[in-house]
Amino acid sequence: MNYIILKSIEPVPACAGMVNGFFFVKEIKMKIHYGLLLLLLSAFVMCGCSRDSEKEKVASTPVVSDTTVVSDTATESETPVAVTAPEPVQEITLMTHDSFSVSADVISLFEKAHNAKVIFLKAGDAGEALNKAILSRNNPLADVFYGVDNTFLSRALAADMFIPHLSEHLSDVDDSLKLDPSHGLLPVDFGDVCLNYDRKWFETHEMVPPAMLEDLIKPQYKGLLVIENPATSSPGLAFLLATISRFGEAGYLDFWKQLKANDVLITSGWKEAYWGKFSAASDGDRPLVVSYASSPAAEVFYAKEKPAQSPTGVILGHGSAFRQIEFAGILKGTDQEILAGKLLDFLLSPDFQADIPLQMFVFPANKKAVLPEVFQKHARITPEPATLSANLIQSHRDLWLSQWTELML
């Protein structure tokens, strides 16, 4: 459309170089050329993009046809069809959150075994991704969803959008992780949210790091802790839940009141707390932060020279760590239920599970998965995690969050 307008203008004879002698047809033509160039460029981009983008090819084609002014692009968009014609590769889509990651080698094991191509859709943070999946449940965006955590479990189950799947690998998963008896959502990984401390800071100040939640309100730890807002951060919420589990619904607000008096710093999310305020990782001055029990392993793995000891330590005792469990499931409405089932099996298989620690820095749910060395040495699991039932979390989340917000902010 735009193209046509511009094009029809181009052969205009020189006629308007008149008023004040300002305007020269040549330059106007130049401008039109640039305009054309831009349009063609955007057309190229759109064609290029839509070539291998869609699960259903139909969708993007009409968009392309509008702008297919160059013959190259037209042929280009046809080639993949011709190449893949003999034995079509099945595409299967995995919807997940920002933090998801997997090794290229590992995912290609699945792709080769099933002549499939896995497409990843990252749909925002954990809450946002789940809500997008719920909104689109009548016409799902993907075949498999990865990354419902136990704080959102009830909401996901209430939406009734997962197909039960009894995976062969479930027998290798600890029973305490299986929270959905209908097996629509299968546990895939878990990690403990807990306090991390800056070893060097506590050494130079000749202090002992706190051992449990109760220690945080002692005067010697005043002004040392940074936490995340539970209303906008999932480790922040997990930490709030740990305090509720520890002190009960009646007592947790009292604990927070004292924590506030002890000058706790609150940020909006994990990135701001860890990279902005935590003294071991930033220019900040807080040696205590709410993070994961596996964070020290990441500190070692991503250090310039691998140290013998992580620069950070974790505090796990006396129910001070909350266990986050992540689940995956097959979305109802998929037209490839069998392949989706195989993908879910693969996600639970030792191949994928052994890849989880160094990709996402959480623990695999499958006990048969071998932990990498850096994890065995530097990552921890608490023997006594703080727990709350998924139903209780779901029904009280709003209340707890508004009580907390009112008190703390």
Binding site: F23, L39, A298
Partner: protein, 545 residues
């Protein structure tokens, strides 16, 4: 005759932005609002009651409005003097400083937070200047981001005002102050209004700055929508708040249009005539002050990022840059830096093209339309800028889900979403320029036998060229810096530079942090290079317009 010649090209041009908005804005928005309010079968009044009654909501709305107002005023205070210098004087490295002032626009908030921390944090270069999360940080960050919006739009317009009227005023005995307040500022009013309005809307729907730099005790409507929609899944409340945001924007826009009374028109002049070399102590001081300010305010935070990316254990090293080329964890989401740059540029070019077409046409139709309908158009085109990204994203998921519009997972959606944010910038830059064109120019062309189309292409288009360049720069920058929409279709093969930055910051470890800083430095480099190209593409020898 006059009527025919202004309306027909305008109506033709109006089709493009209206179709674009209907498909990618109104349709998804209507979808999500409808679903939010009527999904339980009946209209839930309880949620609207909740929003209206809640004291918390009232204080959020009030805070959103006043922080946006104060941020806008502060931005004007720092940007207008610089705009004066930039528009009136030629000096060495002028383009470079203009570029420096615009780069902040692309930086992710978390990176800006790191830059401020490095400068003014506890261990910062300037000592502890209270870089704690606070209200002051919100204002500084808004000024940092929006400085260039005012600067570019006003300078683009100011350079076109020839010296004749000022000279005439001086000859008639006006003092420089009188000339400034009686001649220059009234002439500049449309550009200043347009720029302030953009800044206001930007701060009004501010998200990252509030969340990251302001800290959790501050909340704008936009932040609250995100909280309600993404974490509490309270869609009716989120939808109510989105509607409220739209209504407020619309009302503001209405006032703005009313304030725009009949404007002074003048013959646009060339850049070469209006800018001169500074002479005398006074003028040199002004140029020096402007250059010094931009250096301190824009360059220093950016330099601190570059230093962080190079500084390894007490020495300069390229180790973080080198490690960018190496996929340490073997992840399929690893982004090779060259590919990230390629993707970013590809999306930015597509956005630039689309935003120029949609925004240019929107400006033409707003300028040309007459009657009742016209009053609606201007506010209408500004709405996408202030609509909650989460709400619109949810809307797209439930509406753009069937052929021929099954775009939910298509990378094509990325430039489309970027264009929704970028085209109002193009439109706001172009509109004042378009309005400044005296009708006599067009009439003369018509009298000489030019058709309406020819008049537009030979009279209007050359004059708005400079404004289009300003718009193009913003479209390009917005696309380069935007993150949310890019992430949604963030399949490994389409990852952009901001996506790479977030990926690195997603996990602990010193190398990750260094690499994030290195990628941020690359982002600044790519942005600067992009500006140079855009400025070059503008036809030379044409000097302005």
């Amino acid at each position: 005759m006059k009527k025919r010649f202004t309306i027909s090209p305008a109506v033709l041009a109006g089709v493009i932005p209206l179709v674009f908005l209907s498909l990618f804005y109104f349709y998804p928005l209507a979808g999500i609002l409808f679903k939010s309010f009527f999904s339980q079968g009946d209209f839930s009044l309880s949620s609207s009651g909740y929003v209206v009654q809640s004291k918390r909501m009232a204080s959020i709305v009030w805070f959103t409005l006043w922080q946006a107002g104060v941020s806008t005023l502060l931005t004007l205070v720092i940007a207008l003097p610089c705009a004066y210098v930039m528009a009136n004087f030629n000096f060495r490295w002028k383009k470079l400083f203009m570029t420096l002032a615009t780069i902040p626009f692309v930086l992710p908030t978390i990176v800006v937070a790191a830059a401020f921390q490095a400068l003014a944090g506890e261990k910062g270069l300037l000592g502890n200047m209270a870089a704690e999360q606070s209200l002051a940080m919100i204002f500084v960050a808004h000024m940092f981001y929006n400085f260039s919006v005012v600067l570019r739009i006003v300078v683009g317009f100011w350079s076109a005002i020839g010296p004749q009227m000022r000279e005439a005023g001086a000859m008639l005995g006006a003092t420089p102050v009188q000339i400034l307040f009686r001649i220059t500022l009234p002439l500049l009013k449309p550009a200043i209004f347009a720029a302030s309005f953009l800044v206001f809307i930007f701060c009004f729907s501010s998200f990252g700055v509030i969340l990251i730099l302001g800290g959790p005790e501050f909340s704008t409507i936009e932040v609250e929508i995100y909280r309600q929609a993404a974490h509490l899944f309270n869609l009716p409340v989120a939808a109510m708040l989105s509607l409220l945001q739209i209504v407020i924007t619309f009302a503001m826009m209405w006032v703005y249009t009313a304030l725009q009374k009949r404007l002074v028109q003048f013959s646009p002049d060339t850049e070469a005539v209006s800018a001169k070399t500074p002479s005398g102590v006074m003028e040199k001081c002004m140029v020096g002050g402007c250059v010094g300010f931009i250096t301190c305010f824009c360059l220093c935070p950016m330099l601190s990022l570059v230093i962080k990316s190079l500084w390894v254990e007490g020495g300069i090293s390229l180790i973080f840059y080198k490690s960018l080329f190496y996929n340490v964890s073997g992840s399929i989401f690893y982004v090779p830096p060259v590919r990230a740059m390629g993707n970013s540029l590809m999306f930015a070019m597509a956005t630039l093209g689309m935003a120029l077409v949609v925004g240019g046409c929107a400006a033409v139709v707003t300028h040309g339309a007459k009657g009742r309908f016209a009053g609606f158009l201007d506010p209408l085109f500004m709405l996408p800028l202030s609509t909650s990204a989460v709400t619109l994203g949810f809307g797209m998921i439930i509406t753009l889900d069937a052929p021929p519009l099954n775009l939910r997972t298509s990378p094509f959606l990325v430039p489309v979403v970027h264009t929704l944010v970028a085209f109002p910038f193009v439109m706001r830059s172009v509109l004042p320029a378009l309005r400044s064109i005296p009708n006599s120019l067009r009439e003369a062309a018509t009298m000489l036998g030019a058709s309406p189309g020819k008049v537009w292409f030979h009279v209007d288009l050359p004059i708005i060229g400079r404004a289009l360049t300003v718009g193009a720069v913003f479209a390009f920058t917005i696309s380069l810096g935007e993150f949310g929409a890019t992430l949604f279709t963030a399949r490994p093969e389409y990852a952009t530079i901001p996506v790479a930055i977030y990926r690195f910051l997603g996990q602990p470890g010193a190398t990750n942090y260094g690499q994030a800083m290195a990628v941020s430095s690359l982002l600044m480099l790519v942005t600067a290079a992009g500006f140079m190209v855009i400025e070059k593409v503008r036809p030379q020898g044409h000097e302005g317009f």
